[in-house]
Each structure stands twice: as structure tokens, then as C-alpha cells.
């Protein structure tokens, strides 16, 4: 009977280190992006910019994430004079996609709502994650496209997981991946973040985001915001389901 005490000790120490480091990393991230005090006051983000569809093809977009007075998300996208939209508010949502000639908004499915809900947090899920009912594990360091990153895993009560790749130098979140367990399938989304800028409010956010697949291949073009407003006035009617035309 041989017991490897050394590996036991190392693993126990590593476990302790992991437990401390996850919070340390989160704290460093919020310090690097404006400080926890400022982030505590963030309840709405509104971005306006363009989606780069291809060479010379820029489509205007708007994106809103709000947590007060209600929890919701809103997105729109305009091309050829038509605007597609979707919004999620509390426990319901809708999609309006006129590009094929349709003029009715469809209700979001429960699966979509679940997926969008994970995103409906302008502070980010990591902020006060324990109060929000999440757990976070530190998964160690990794090489993300040549950059050294900390890797964190946030788990919700439903068992959904969100992975954060945090630059060890800047402490910015460079990539986020989500693994959402739906009834009959598992959904995965990955997004790269860049063009970090300090907003007028004082928090730093990425002005550019790029969807990628599991292997890191770009999915479509980037979304580049030219303006991100923190806690600006939000027109609540945007979240109302459009009437049929």
C-alpha cells in the first residue's frame, strides 16, 4: 500500500490556492476596468455601432443590456432599410426578423430566453457572483491565441457554465464561452472581446466583439461599437413586442 503524500499535499495546496485565486482574479479584473464601486452602480449599458458583414458592408446595430428597473436585453440590426430586432424582458421575449418579408414578431422560446437571460447583466455575471447565486472555479492558466490568460468557470444553479479567459497582464476578459444545457441539446457560444475603452462613466468595456466557434474560427464579422453609454436613459418601449404590420 503506497500513498503518495507529496501529491496529496500539493493537491491540497493547489486547491487552496485555486479557491483564493478565483476571487483574486475577479477582483483584479474589476479593479482594472474601473473598480468595484463604479461597477456596483452600473445598471444599463447601451452600445451603438456597426456589424461588419463583409468587405465594405457595414450594418448599423444597437445593443442594450439593463438590470434596472427591469432585467432585459435589446438588439437591433439594420440592412437594406430593414431592421431586425429582438428583446428579452424578465421572463419573456420576442424576435422580429423582417428580412424574408415577415411582419410579425415571434415569441422567444424558453430555450432562447434562458440563453439570453445569462447575458442580461450589465455588470457581468462575475460581479458579486455569490450574491447572484453562482459559483466560480479557477481552472488554471491557459494560452489563448498566444496570450497568457487565467481561466475561470462560472456555474449557475441550472448547471449552465460560462468560461472567462482573463488576460494575465491587463486583467481584461478577452474571451467568454457559454455552455448552456437545454433539454435536448447543449448550446455553446464563444465571443472574443477587444478595443477596450474607458467610458464616460468610468468603467472600461470592450468596444469590439467577435463571435468564434469552438475552434476559434471567426463566425461572421465583428461588431464594432462607436459609442457605449452607461446608465443612460432607456426607452422601455423598445422592449415591447412590436405590433403586426
Amino acid at each position: 500500500m503506497v500513498k503518495s503524500f507529496l501529491s496529496f499535499i500539493l493537491l491540497v495546496l493547489a486547491g487552496q490556492m485555486f479557491a483564493q485565486t478565483a476571487d483574486d482574479i475577479i477582483n483584479k479584473h474589476f479593479e482594472a476596468t474601473g473598480g468595484k464601486d463604479k461597477w456596483a452602480k452600473v445598471y444599463a449599458l447601451r452600445g451603438a455601432g456597426v456589424y461588419v458583414m463583409g468587405p465594405g458592408m457595414l450594418a448599423p446595430v444597437n445593443n442594450i443590456v439593463v438590470s434596472k428597473p427591469f432585467k432585459g436585453t435589446y438588439n437591433d440590426f439594420t440592412w437594406q432599410g430593414m431592421t431586425g430586432k429582438n428583446a428579452m424582458r424578465a421572463d419573456s421575449g420576442w424576435n422580429y426578423q423582417p428580412f424574408g418579408g415577415k411582419r410579425d414578431a415571434d415569441p422567444m422560446s424558453p430555450n432562447e430566453i434562458r440563453s439570453y437571460k445569462l447575458s442580461a447583466d450589465p455588470q457581468g455575471l462575475l460581479f458579486n457572483y455569490q450574491e447572484k447565486g453562482y459559483t466560480v472555479d479557477y481552472l488554471g492558466t491557459d494560452d489563448m491565441d498566444g496570450t497568457d490568460v487565467y481561466k475561470l468557470r462560472l456555474t449557475t444553479k441550472d448547471g449552465d457554465m460560462v468560461y472567462y479567459y482573463i488576460d494575465m497582464e491587463t486583467n481584461f476578459i478577452l474571451k467568454e464561452g457559454s455552455r448552456i444545457k437545454l433539454k435536448d441539446k447543449e448550446e455553446k457560444h464563444y465571443t472574443l472581446f477587444s478595443d477596450f475603452r474607458k467610458t464616460d462613466f468610468g468603467v472600461t468595456v470592450p468596444f469590439s466583439q467577435q463571435g468564434v466557434d469552438e475552434n476559434g474560427a471567426e463566425q461572421g464579422g465583428p461588431v464594432n461599437f462607436n459609442k457605449v453609454e452607461v446608465n443612460g436613459a432607456i426607452d422601455a418601449s423598445l422592449f415591447d413586442k412590436p405590433k403586426s404590420k
Binding site: 501529491s7 496529496f8 437594406q80 496570450t147 468595456v205 467577435q210
Partner: protein, 1026 residues
Amino acid sequence: MNKILCATLLMAICLSGFAQKAKTKGSTSPEAKDVKLTSASLGKIEARHIGPAVTGGRITSIDGVNADPRILYIGTAGGGVWKTTNGGADFKPVFDKYCQSIGSVAIDQTNPDVVWAGTGESNMRNTVSIGNGIYKTTDGGENWVIMGLPNSEHISKVIIHPKDPNTVFVAVPGKLWSNSADRGLYKTTDGGKTWDKILFANDSTGCSDFAINPKNPDIMYATMWQFRRKPYAFNSGGPGCAIMKSTDGGKTWRKIHKGIAADTIGRAAIAISPSSPDNMVAIAESKKTSLYISSDGGENWKEQSADDNVCARPFYFSCVVVDPIDAKRVYRPAFEFSYSEDGGYSWVRAQNDQGWLHSDMHALWINPKNTSQMYVGTDGGVYMSVDRGNNWIYLNSLPVAQLYHVEVDNQNPYYVYCGLQDNGSWRAPSQAPGGIHNADWVNIGGGDGFWVQPDGEDNNIVYSEYQGGHITRLAIKSNDGQDVQPKAGEGDSKLRYNWNTPIVRSPTNKKRLYMGAQFLYKTEDRGITWAKISPDLTTNDPAKLKQEESGGLTNDNTSAENHCTIFNIAESPVDEKMIWVGTDDGNLQVTQDGGKTWTNTSNNYKLCGVPTQTWVTSIEPSRYDKNVVYVTFDNHMYGDMKTYVAKSADMGKTWKLLSSDVFKGYANKIREDVVSKDLLFLGTEMGLYTSIDGGNNWVQMKAHIPDCAMVRDLVIQPQTNDLVVATHGRGILIVDDISPLRKITGPLLNSAVAVISARPVPLSVGHGGGNWPFAGYTGPNATEDARIMYYLKERINSGDVKVEIYDEKGTFLVDLPGTKRKGINVITWNMRTKPPRVAQGGSKLDFASQIGPMVAEGKYKVKVLVNGKEADDNIELVPDTRSSATEKEKEEDRESLMRTFKMQEDLANLMDSVIAEEKMIKEFKDQSPVVKQYYDSLEIIRAELVPVKEGRTVIFVDEEKMRDRISDIYAGVAFYQGAPTASQVQGLNKLQRDMNTTSQKLDERKKTFRPKVKAEIGKGGKNVPY
């Protein structure tokens, strides 16, 4: 900002379906330190995995989620762990950062996100690879952590305690090639933090099988196996072997052999009936391997009659399984698939109406919710049965083929040729319409496949072999093959061909082919006559030539242990008289007179630290200097897993060991670049590496390449500069266009930004052809867009990266969003400029707004702008040699395209006029009949130009208006490079007339109505700006 927008946009875009020498001018960062090449520097120089999956590789372990049997994990011999979430419709690799040889996978059924993977398969054949411990994931394979047993090398089984998921048992046969105390049965009770070795026999005996009583988990069984391989022999069996039982959770053990006839056994497989655990089955290797049944928990065994399959090759087939519910139903996947319906008393073989079930099986998982459904792992992939194993369906989307060698030809697109472990020889194009489908692979040889050589002069002829040097020359189109193996001549001793016999083309003479037994042979007439051009070049050591005695208790002589043979041959590209030969017993011989005289350099290379008797796994005589040669050596069969790569600059007289801290795994192949003398590639059993300075420094190539890929062969296709990689478990990987690595020198590495010119790009609309969703795995094509490559010293976190394209006159054409990663970035340009502005105001999207006109052939400047710094270089677009279009036809195409482009924009302007006119009067239309009449007449015009029907609820009811008709021709012209058809031209003429008519109509209506409308609106005190 929030990430959800991306998903929304992608959904929207999908609706249309049409979305489509380094010049280091960039500034050097003032604070620059000397940047060294790292893996990160290589950036997006990444591989694509083209398969094959038409046939698989060896599967070592299968486990499924009992509560959701669509989720399965597959352990493979050389391709890592794969996961399916749809019952096998497709698979994804989930273990790419770790050792690729898998012994066992086990799912924690109480939390199926927890999965254990024991590395190092335990089917101890000659070519088995090694592992480095046991791993665990807690999130369904997204992340893994090594949990220990790093020196185990081989793990045969991982079993999770049925009532306590933190208690796990690991059966470790241990090292195959050397003695080791790191073997036996291990147990953890804390989820893998600590391990106890609870059963151990001796340094040459490990634990090969384990079973636990699901109803009383204190009762457990283990089989101990004494075994050892040498390069030239295998031994299975010995006094350490035993079937053991514990009734106290593994604290104490006793041998349970009552009823087992043989005094000495070898490898034993056991199975317990989950529904009636006292009932057990065992297959114990001995001089007469037998099947035993016990009905009292192994206390007494009764030998039963069994056929050859049940008792076949016990060292290799160690799987026996009892149905989860029916205690009488027993399965024996072995050479073939046998099953019993009476608890093992009698056996029948699978019916296989469907066709062939690949032989050689090692794993079986039965769906406990539906025991008719099961998955078997074979040497040729995974099969599924829905009728209790009678018939099987091949799951053809798992690309885990185990290559020994790969070759390419010079066709456009070029073909790849490969030989696979237990799966014959194949070829496929490197590009095919819609990707490289299973149907694109053509079988060109049977048995175990190894070296394959396309004929130097005739693309219809190929040479392949099966084990032991059985070479065939095949005419592919007629499938007409002839055995052309060199035979022993007068006075020759018996020829000894290696399991993996070299067949090598001459780099200087297209007619010449070499092949080696213990002698070297040469043919220049396609194998009809072979000239023996050497004496025995091996050590010819009699102690290593007793293959008939190999196997231990069970004699097993398949040519796998053939030894004292030639293992590699290489003719110098700069001197056809200079030929190098490496053997499997350490000789490295060279001739400088075409074979008349030979010099053995083995005593020389030993001086640089390479051990004696090593296998010479590859020889690369330099194409730049005949004095220079690179060689890889493999000593793993003597228990030494180090990486040995050596270089001689004086024809083998003295050697320098090329070493690096980044190397892992024994060395299999070294390849010198075909353009840059300092660029080298190295394949080891655990990764792909490159050096840009002649071997002094190395970095690992990781982009889409498993960190521990078993790289067995490398070849560079000279026309495309593609590096084609043969892996022993992940099929063929192609790194498209490695030419940037020739340019990534010191000055470039220190640039903040630099554009790297790539190979010329054939100007093509693409050869996509049918993208029909064929069943099975589809290997991706290389992009046919222009690849734009640029280097960034650091990741760009602030600001933007913009890529601008200019024509030769310096006219700006288009800009592209740049990626921002550290190292080499690769983006694609579809060689089109900005699409036309199309008419708005319709009720649906028009796809022409996403298709820009293609540019002409020629040079274009690529400028990359990053936060005030910029760099540029040219990219050359050249004629597509696969296109039959003449220059004149291409010109006609372009003229038609630009004409149609202009029509789109004219129509957009016309539509703008209509919309503007409507906008001015819309608020008054219900106040005046005249205004309404004018508005309605404008609406009629609008409806001629664009679809206006709103509220569509189905996708196939559509309107086709002038915009759609122009777009139809526009797309037709834009996606063909030859002259437009007469019909297209006719259609355009008609559309131009129609547009003119509508335009005139609008003018007339304006003329008629504007004064009246102005007057009408004026009555109300309002005005319109006419």
C-alpha cells in the same frame, strides 16, 4: 458589452445565405526586446483535419451516459477522447491538449459531467503508444486535470465505485518495454487527490482487468498480467499472472483459480453479470486459452467449450461483457463479434446482413435503457447495433485513422496517399467540392497499410503494401494490381521485411523506387525487376531473429516482430549515387557510389548521445548540401522515451544532437523545407515541432494540432507549400501554405506589425460545386479566398486593426476587419470589392447587396493599420489554371458583371426617387383624391421594382420583381468566370429596357402630377419642395 448581439446578427445574416519575403515596413516598437520565436508567434498557421473517416482507427474504450444514452465518450488508441451528444451522428474531440493514447474512459453516472480518462492503451501490440497518467473532467470534457499515475504508461480500465463516485479503481498493466513498480491496481477515495496501490505483484506484472460487484462493492476481482515486449519479441504470461478476488474493498486479495486447468496463465479477461453478480465469465490465456464460467463469484470455475474467436489473441482481445439486464446474454468482441444466450455455454457469431463489421474489437458499451442498442469499438472505428449485436452500422464521422506514412502527388489539386494501421491504403484529393467527404477516399491497398508511393510519371499508378513488405503496384482506374515484391535470389538468405517496410521514391529519377528487406533493392521499371544494391545492412543478430517463438504462452507471429531489417531509405536530392539506409537495429549506412560500397556510421552517431540499437525512424539528406543529413532515432522499445534528433554536416562522420526543452515523445520524422534550408519540421510521438534556424531552436506547432499528436510522417507539397502531416490516430492534417515560416525571422518578430506575403492566389470564384451534406465526416478544404497574413507582436486590446486593399495604381478598393491575435494572423479576402447598392424599400432582403464584383488578376497592395502603425506588402492574384475560361471570356464576364452592377445601382437610384416622392406626399394622401391618385401610381411603380408583399409566413411563396431579376443575372455572372450566356445578355437587355420604361413612367407621372399635387397641398397652406 454583451456578447448576445453576435448570435442575433448571425441569425439575421443566415437568412440571405450569401454572406460570403516578408516586408516589415511596420514600425518596430521602441521598447522592443529581442523577441524569440514561440508557438504563439506561429498564430493562425493552423492545420485542417481532412480525415479519413471512411475507415476508422483503433477504439479502446466506450462509455455512455446511462440517463441520456445519446452522450458517449470514445477512447481511441491514438486520437484522444471523442464525445458524441447525438448517439454517434457526429463526434467532437475533447482531449486535444493531452496524451492521445487512451486506455479507458469512465463516466460518473451520478454526475455525467464527471468523466475519467486513463491514458495509454493496453492492447499491447507492437505499435502501441504510451500514456502519462489519469485525467478527470468535471464539465463534460471542456477542461481536464491530470489526477496522477504519471508513470503508468498504460491503463487498461477505470471503474468508478457504484455507490461512491469519489472512489475510483484504476487497473494499470504498466510499462510494456521495461520493468516498473508503477503498475498494479490503484484506488482513490477522494476523487483522485490521492491514490493507494492496493494490488501489486512484481515489476513485470501489472493489472489488466478489474470488475466490481455492483450489489456488494466490497467484492471485486482483478486479473494480474505478466508481459514484456522487446523490439523483436513479445512475451505474455508468467508466474505473476493470476485472477484475484477481494471481499473487503481491496484491502486483502486471494487467488481464485479453482477449476482453472493451467498452472501458468497469461492475460485474463473477466466479466461480471450486473444483474446477477455471482455469475462470471473469464477468458484466461494459457498454452490452451480457455473460457471459464463461475456461478459463485469466482470461487469455482468451470471450463466451457468455446470457438476460436472467443479465445483468439488474448493479449490483444481482452473484452468480454455481460448484458446489464439479461445475465445469460454474454458478448465477446474479439477478432469477430460473438455472443452467447446461455451464459457462455454456447456461442454464435454476428450475422452482419448489413455488411462488414471491422475485425479486432476492444470495447463494447450496451445502452442499459435499451439493451438492444450497443456500440462496439474496433480497429476500424465505432459501430452501432440496434439488434443486440447481430448487425452493425458503421459510424462514419469519427476521423481517428492511424497512419504510418503519407505521400502527395503533383496534381492540381494534389492527392494525398496514406497507409493505415489495420485499414489498408487510401488516397483522396486535398480539395474536393464541398470538402473532402468519405466518398472521396479511394482504397488502394488492403491489410495494414504503411508506405504508399504514387508513380513518378503516371497518376494512375500507385504502390502500396501490407505488413511484411507485400508491395502491390496498382492501376487505380482499372483496379488492376500486381504483387511486385522483391524475392530472394540465388544465394540469398530468407528475406526479412519489416512490419512497416520502406518503399521510397527517388528525388532525382521519377522512374526509380527503393525498397528494403535486409538488403536494399532498386527498380526503375515499376517493380518488374529489382536490383539488389547492398549486402545485408543490418546487424543480422541471431538473438533477434526468433520471431517464430514470439508471443509467450500464445504464439503470435504476424511479422510485427520482424527485426534486423531496413526501416528507412533516403536518396540524396543532390546526388543520386548517395543513398542512406537506416535499420531497426541501429545501423545507419551510406553509400556514395550507388550501392557498390557502404559505410556504417552507427559508431559515429553514438558519440553524440544516441543509444545503440535504436530504430532509425527517418533520414533527411539535405537538398542544399550533400554533406548535411538529419536523422531521427527511436529508442522507446528499450524503455527510453527521449527525443533523439541528430544532424551531421560531414556525411555522417560527426553528429550533433538537436535538443530542445519543448520536445516530448520519441522522434518519428524530420523534414527539411523545400525552399528554406533553415526551416525544419519534426514529428514525434507527442507533437509537431518546427525550427527556423536549422535545428538550434524549436517550437511546437499547436494551431488546430493536438498538443500530443502522434506524428508519424511529414511531407511538403512543393507547389502549394502545404505541410501534410500523418498522425497515428487523427488521420491527415494539412497545414496550408507554410511559406510564412520561411519569413518569420528576427526582424519580423520584432516588428509591431508586418505583412507577410503569401503564395500567389488563383483568382477563382471557388470550386465548391455541390455542397451536398453527405453522411459522415467532411474534411474542410483550404480556403480559395486570398489569405492575407500579417504579424502582430502583441495582441491588440486597444484600438482597431484594419486591413486595406489597393490596386496597383494605389486606388483604394476595400477594407476588411482584421483579427487581433498575437503572432501571425490570417484573414481571408474573397477578392471582391464593395457590393452594389441595391434598391431599398422592398419587403424582403436582396442577396446582391452581399456580392461584390471580383477584381482582376494582378498585384494588389495589402496595408495593415494598427493604432497609428502600418505595414504593407503585395498579394498576387494569378489565373486559375483549373478554369477553362480564356482571357477574352473573362473580360466579357467582367464587362457584363459591371454592367449588371451599374443596373443594380441605377435601380437603387430609381427606387430612391420613388421613395423620396412618396415621402413628400404621404401625409397628404388621405386628404386629397389627386394626391392619393399620385401616391397610388407611385406604389404601382414601387411594386414593379421590388417585392412589396408583406406579412409572409412561409418561405417559398415569393415575388420576383425587377430587382430580383437583375440580382439573378448578377449572381449568375458573378459566380462564373467565363463569358455570360446569350440568354443572360438577352435578359439584361430586356431588364435595361424595362428599367428605362419604368424610369420614363416615373418621369411622366412626376410631370403630370407634381403641379396638381403642389396646388392641392398648397390649398392647405402646406408646401412640397418641388
